[in-house]
Symmetry: C2
């Protein structure tokens, strides 16, 4: 498996585009409508936020994907269409507009939104915008589409990978957005993945679930699980491989490649957390179960106090132990070792649950790098897990103290 | 029941003192050792953090309170004695020093610590300090004791109430500390309550649990549950009432007074959250159960994004609904009404789960007051609950980015 160029259009038969249609009113140069289309119908699957308050487009998409089939994805940024008047009707109108412009059935359109909650979606702008968007669709449109789904994101997230399945080269590409209101619980962001690998809708669903579990569900920016999170996979089969219809070697190869792609997108999302200056990588080894390891690592990356310590390049490992302690996982604190690690080196700060003497200057240097690893080792078993987060900064407060206006 | 002066020494027979002995090394004028003593033995009970990583003094205190009896409380700030070398031995040495200076059995001494995790407790300073502390004990020492248990707190928390039980006037007084690493899960801070009301140890335990449940367990500053949290009640019986030995009218009167005291201390703690500029009061009514109402309210006050919105005086009620949605409670989003309220007025922002048109300037004015109420109404049942939190500010990041050094 290798990483390749092309993002969400890397797979055969996919085109994309992104433009500004006016949903984002504050900045007229910012793109806010993206469209991804396959030349042929796709097996399709999606996972959605676990938040009980679900945005209207998620409900409509769930309905449209009931038959495991889709051919286009329409996404707007700037307005979440959640808790908004006429939400469901406006999500349907968006699909209808895209379907009409593309000559598709509206039930083959996936729709998603991201932005402010509670305001009416300016659906007329989307209806008019789609007309302009369709002629712009191209095999090199991934970049524009990736820009058009961003909100407070500072960098676009687009990646693609290539592997061989059943003697055929298959490609998987994706774009994603996510910067705030990010916390592991199903989708936790928007992510659209396309592939030319042939498979059944059930296979697409199961592969997506497996990949999301170890990628997007293992990052956190601020502990807030959004109302709009969605990850979606479209598989159009143009690679010409024998369709994957269930478990087996082909399925495993595809899932591994999909995991690699989603993990890359997820890590980028964590690193681009609102206001973040650091990517925080927390690795737990020696846990009883993978679930325990994940819960411990997530608790550490989600701890506001640990995030503030990383921001201050302060080797305050006590907060790491504290966050492990309230995670709900049973473990023996007296077996815990903690080290901080980065491109500047590695430093042991805690051994068997007790503080070690360490060089504060060296620790500061290690923690001042962009990517910082918190390495936690237990003696409870053989399971391990890595989760990704970011620090909390003045800019996070600034961005979120005045998001709507 | 009325509020009275005197704090932790308001009840008959209690003396207290607080001095600087050198555990806090950064600021030589800051008190760091407090002692509270009863003239006679007390029925005593405590509740502790649910964090799996428990500080050594909690383990020692739990052992000492196994017989439901205590006569003195020794507390240091500046060092948590958690995950620290020789933690348990140093907690015992602290108790022993206090017991010796007071002429008590060391098993009648409650010990607590708060401050940096993972560093060795400078127990010698405490041993020497206790010698100087005992001669300073006085009926007016609550103020000094309240100062000596503070860490990043900016205001001391001391209150007392008076009520009549069995024809006798009884007093309940307390001091508390807590500013960061505050999240509802048992104690979540340090709080020491004294009373001259006569009761059995079992009664003290059950009354304390009831009071903590509706006060300290309903506040959150940053979602981090500390390793050192403890709330402790000492009842010396000097009011002369017939000892309360179980349920009944006397018990109910005492518990109501204790709840009022603990709630006052808890609200002060939330308002004094690290860096906080606002006290956030979240009231949920119309929930199916009190537990549901509490979970919803806690989720809202704990949401980093909601806290950032309050900091920015931004009426971003979508984040309120979002936080309710990921709380895990089942409810119908289409029945949710939200209003913001303060001394500057009240404004409805969401009706039946949909945004209302509202005056942004008026909303800004309401949210600019120090005390801000988020009033949430459901149509799920008749249960309600209020929880207290604070906003997140640049100062929170500043305080916690460099706490140790």
């Amino acid at each position: 498996m290798t990483f390749i160029e092309g993002g969400v259009c890397a797979a055969l038969g996919f085109r994309a585009a992104g433009i500004h249609v006016g949903v984002k009113t504050s900045n007229l140069s910012k793109k806010d409508l993206a469209l991804i289309v396959s030349d042929v119908p796709c097996a399709a699957a999606a996972v959605y936020t676990k938040n009980a308050v679900k945005a209207a487009p998620l409900l409509v998409t769930r309905e449209h994907l009931a038959d495991g089939r889709a051919q286009a994805v329409l996404v707007n940024s700037g307005n979440a269409n959640a808790c908004a008047p006429d939400g469901e009707e406006n999500a349907r109108r968006s699909c209808r507009a895209a379907a009409k412009a593309l000559g598709l059935d509206e039930r083959d359109v996936v729709v998603a939104s991201t932005g402010v909650i509670g305001q009416r979606l300016p659906v007329e702008k989307i209806e008019q915008g789609v007309e302009k968007l369709v002629p712009l669709l191209s095999r090199t449109g991934s970049h524009d589409a990736a820009l058009a789904i961003m909100t407070t994101d500072t960098v676009k997230k687009e990646y693609a990978v290539e592997t061989v399945i059943g003697g055929k080269t298959v490609r998987i590409g994706g774009i994603a957005k996510g910067s705030g209101m990010i916390h592991p619980n199903m989708g936790t962001m928007l992510c659209f993945v396309t592939t030319d690998c042939a498979m059944t809708p059930e296979t697409a669903k199961s592969a997506l679930l497996e990949a999301v579990r170890v990628s997007f569900n293992r990052i956190s920016v601020d502990g807030d699980t959004s109302t709009n999170d969605m990850a979606c996979l479209l598989a159009n089969g143009l690679a010409g491989n024998d369709p994957i219809a269930g478990p087996g070697a082909d399925y495993d190869v595809f899932v591994e490649a999909l995991k690699a792609l989603c993990t890359k997108l997820a890590i980028n999302m964590a690193a681009d957390g609102e206001g973040a200056k650091h990517l925080v990588i927390c690795t737990v080894t020696g846990a009883r179960t993978e679930e325990d390891a994940e819960t411990l690592a997530k608790s550490v990356i989600s701890s506001t106090l640990t995030k503030a310590a990383i921001f201050g390049a302060d080797a305050n490992w006590g907060r790491v132990l504290c966050a492990m302690g309230y995670s709900g996982v049973e473990f023996d604190p007296d077996t815990v070792d903690v080290a901080f690690e980065s491109a500047a080196g590695r430093i042991d700060v805690c051994k068997n649950g007790r503080g070690l003497e360490f060089d504060e200057d060296q620790a500061k240097k290690i923690l001042s790098e962009h990517d910082v690893t918190i390495d936690i080792r237990l003696e409870g078993g053989k399971a391990s897990c890595t989760c990704w987060g970011c620090d909390i900064t003045y800019d996070y407060i600034k961005i979120n103290g005045d998001y709507r206006t």
